[in-house]
């Protein structure tokens, strides 16, 4: 398997897995409070809408000149990758609270429990909440799948990686009956962020005619360089946060 293909699969799989866990949390919350029928209808409708988006936009993207497409996709991947990376670094550095699926689940159940029950016909509230949860989380995955797939000219491979991630998270979620808390989420998010930023840099360069030393292997050394930078930032941030907390507690003692 070429290294660039493996990188495409890993980037799409993990990006999709993280979003699928968040979507699954909402679907399970709907299932537990409003029943499984509206939860599954909402889930199916959202997956169909997302699949239609990929089917409509995917072939269109293959007709765009590859250089321009890679510059645009590079910019999009940089934006999303930097957003993921920033959040993961802030969490690892202790400046931002870790993502809490338990809290999201609890809040979702409370909101749904307070909504009025539907007297007859399909439960529109349950279907709408499940649909919105899955669709909103899925939009980002669609962008990643289309960007990574079209730029590497491996759209089919990217779609398969996304489907595999949905299947793995879905089956694991069913087995665990409630949801999937076991993923080391911040580490996964940081890895995905690093891959998206590396791909974004690589493709923006490719689109502008950069002859990267080592060709496709450039993704790997970009990944290593950004990874090293994130380690340094995280370490500096941890020290700063610890020093800040120490100063605050000392000030309280003196007051």
């Amino acid at each position: 398997v070429p290294s660039s293909d493996a990188a495409v699969v890993v980037a799409v799989f993990f990006a999709c897995a993280v979003e699928a866990v968040e979507a699954l949390t909402i679907v399970v919350a709907v299932g537990a409070t409003r029943g499984w029928r509206p939860a599954l209808w909402g889930l199916a409708a959202a997956l169909a809408a997302l699949a239609a988006l990929v089917a409509a936009l995917g072939p269109a993207l293959t007709r765009v000149p590859i250089s321009g497409l890679r510059v645009a996709v590079g910019a999009a991947l940089l934006l999303f990758g930097l957003q993921w990376l920033r959040k993961a670094v802030l969490r690892a550095g202790g400046l931002l609270a870790h993502h809490d699926e338990h809290e999201i689940y609890r809040r979702q159940v409370a909101e749904l429990g307070s909504a009025a029950p539907t007297r007859s016909g399909p439960d529109r509230v349950g279907i709408a909440v499940a649909f919105k949860g899955v669709f909103l989380e899925g939009i980002e995955v669609v962008i990643v799948v289309l960007s990574v797939g079209a730029s590497s000219q491996r759209l089919g491979l990217a779609v398969l990686a996304a489907l595999a991630a949905i299947l793995v998270v879905g089956v694991t979620g069913l087995i665990l009956a409630r949801y999937v808390p076991g993923l080391p989420e911040n580490a996964v998010k940081m890895t995905v962020g690093l891959m998206l930023v590396s791909f974004g840099t690589f493709w923006m360069g490719e689109g502008l005619g950069v002859g990267w030393p080592g060709s496709d292997a450039a993704v790997l050394y970009l990944l290593a360089a950004y990874g090293a930078l994130c380690l340094v930032i995280t370490r500096v941030l941890r020290h700063a946060v610890a020093a800040d907390r120490h100063r605050s507690s000392s000030a309280r003692v003196h007051v």
């Binding site: 920033r86 550095g93 931002l96 923006m204 502008l208 907390r245």
Partner: protein, 91 residues
């Protein structure tokens, strides 16, 4: 990146006025997706793109761009983390 924790779904059932508000809601959703709470990242990526295009237009699409791109992207990340540190809540 907006997550489910930041976009809590409104459990109200959809109606006709909801459909009329859909374009505005879509616009807000897209703006949230692209800009969110980190406008400096959007601006930073635009600066990276502009600088890269400027270098390319002046014939620097080889080694200069291969070095400049990762350096500029790293600067955007550092500036954004620094901004989060400066804007942190006290204590």
């Amino acid at each position: 990146v907006s997550t489910s924790e930041e976009r809590s779904p409104d459990p109200a059932a959809p109606d006709a006025s909801g459909l009329r508000r859909a374009p505005g809601a879509l616009g807000r959703f897209l703006a949230d997706l692209v800009v969110g709470s980190t406008p400096e990242l959007t601006l930073g990526v635009l600066v990276v793109l502009g600088a890269a295009l400027a270098l390319w237009a002046t014939g620097h699409s080889g080694a200069v761009l291969a070095v400049a791109l990762p350096v500029l992207v790293s600067c955007v990340l550092v500036v954004s983390v620094r901004r989060a540190w400066v804007r942190r809540s006290p204590g």
